[in-house]
């Protein structure tokens, strides 16, 4: 497993060169935006169960066959497995976002995930859709683009310093896209 710092070290070692110049500049950016990154991770972890259950609910609403007899979220046991998998995927994305590198997500979550889903008969299209909803929800929490009108009575705003989080939103989005790409 690597983070942003060890990633630059490993690639510098391949060239037998010290880490300097532009590599250090990107690490300084990581350090400078460190608090933003921690807030972003916190935004995901604090709202994890909400993000996961909304995503699974949304996936089922769009395809109600999933909870009818013979569907892949029927009975409760399989619905529970679906919620659990959503939480596991979100957890590894939060690790990747904290580390600033996708290797933990790749090594420990995505490697072999598609093959497992195919072997178990899990519809990968639905799984990808649930991840896409998690992406929308998580990035809205990180960028604080949610509004009371959209959120309704479940609207929630994190008490963080206002600032430009577009880079982190894009980075988090790329991890969700990585999961979608890996299962579909």
């Amino acid at each position: 497993m690597l983070d942003a710092f060890s990633r630059s070290v490993v690639s510098a070692d391949a060239k037998t060169a010290p880490v300097g110049g532009s590599d250090l500049a990107s690490l300084r950016a990581y350090v400078q935006n460190g608090n933003k990154r921690l807030d972003a991770v916190n935004a995901i972890t604090s709202n994890a169960s909400c993000i996961v259950s909304d995503a699974v609910t949304g996936m089922i609403c769009e395809n109600t066959g999933l909870i009818q007899a013979g569907g892949n979220c029927y009975p409760n046991r399989r619905m529970a497995a679906c919620l659990r998998d959503g939480e596991i995927i979100l957890r590894y994305i939060s690790y990747a976002l904290l580390a600033g590198d996708a290797s933990v997500l790749d090594d420990r979550c995505l490697n072999g995930l598609k093959e497992t889903y195919i072997a178990l008969g899990v519809p990968t299209q639905s799984a990808a859709r649930a991840v896409a909803i998690m992406k929308a929800s998580a990035t809205a929490h990180i960028g604080e683009t949610n509004t009371p009108a959209l959120g309704g009575k479940r609207f929630r705003k994190m008490e963080t310093t206002q600032g430009d989080c577009s880079a982190l939103v894009a980075e988090a989005g790329s991890y969700f896209d990585r999961v979608i790409g890996a299962v579909s």
Partner: protein, 164 residues
């Protein structure tokens, strides 16, 4: 590669939980101290060749017998390899400063070093002398800020202790 972030993530993953407040605090503490070590890494990277040369010169000055026939530096090829090794150690220190831990030195420098030096019949004393010279020669604020120097010297001490 071990660093504060990967240690935190490994522990959280073993417990199957999301990163907790404690984990985030640990990472934040590491980030707050990062400025000094990144400065040290930058200065070291910029002067790596010069520092290597000075360190190597210092060790051959002190142990001039090393260049006599039958000793570890009796040909230019062997002398060059000594300078190369010193460069490797300083480069690994640069990596440690970037990562914020001794992972790179442990994994790529120290693990197995003793066995290699023994089987090649190389003395480690001259390496210790060269790195000690580097440690005592570096000074603040001429080379880098005091905090950065502190980080740099702590990794030099780590290598010196491992080799002696």
């Amino acid at each position: 590669m071990k660093s504060v972030v990967t240690t935190v993530v490994t522990a959280a993953d073993a417990a199957g939980r999301f990163p907790s407040q404690n984990d985030l605090e640990a990472v934040q503490g590491n980030i707050q101290r990062a400025a000094a070590r990144l400065e040290a890494a930058e200065k070291l990277a910029a002067g790596l060749d010069a520092v290597t040369r000075e360190a190597g010169d210092a060790c051959f000055n002190k142990y001039s017998y090393l260049k006599q026939p039958g000793e570890a530096g009796d040909s230019q090829v062997k002398v060059d390899k000594c300078y190369r090794d010193l460069g490797h150690y300083l480069r690994l220190i640069n990596y440690c400063l970037v990562v914020g831990g001794t992972g790179p030195l442990d994994e790529w420098g120290i693990a197995g070093a003793r066995e290699v030096y023994r089987s090649l019949g190389l003395p480690t004393g001259p390496y210790v002398e060269a790195l000690t010279y580097t440690r005592d020669r570096a000074c603040a604020p001429r080379d880098m800020s005091p905090q950065a120097l502190n980080e740099f010297k702590s990794y030099l001490d780590y290598v010196i202790n491992a080799l002696s």
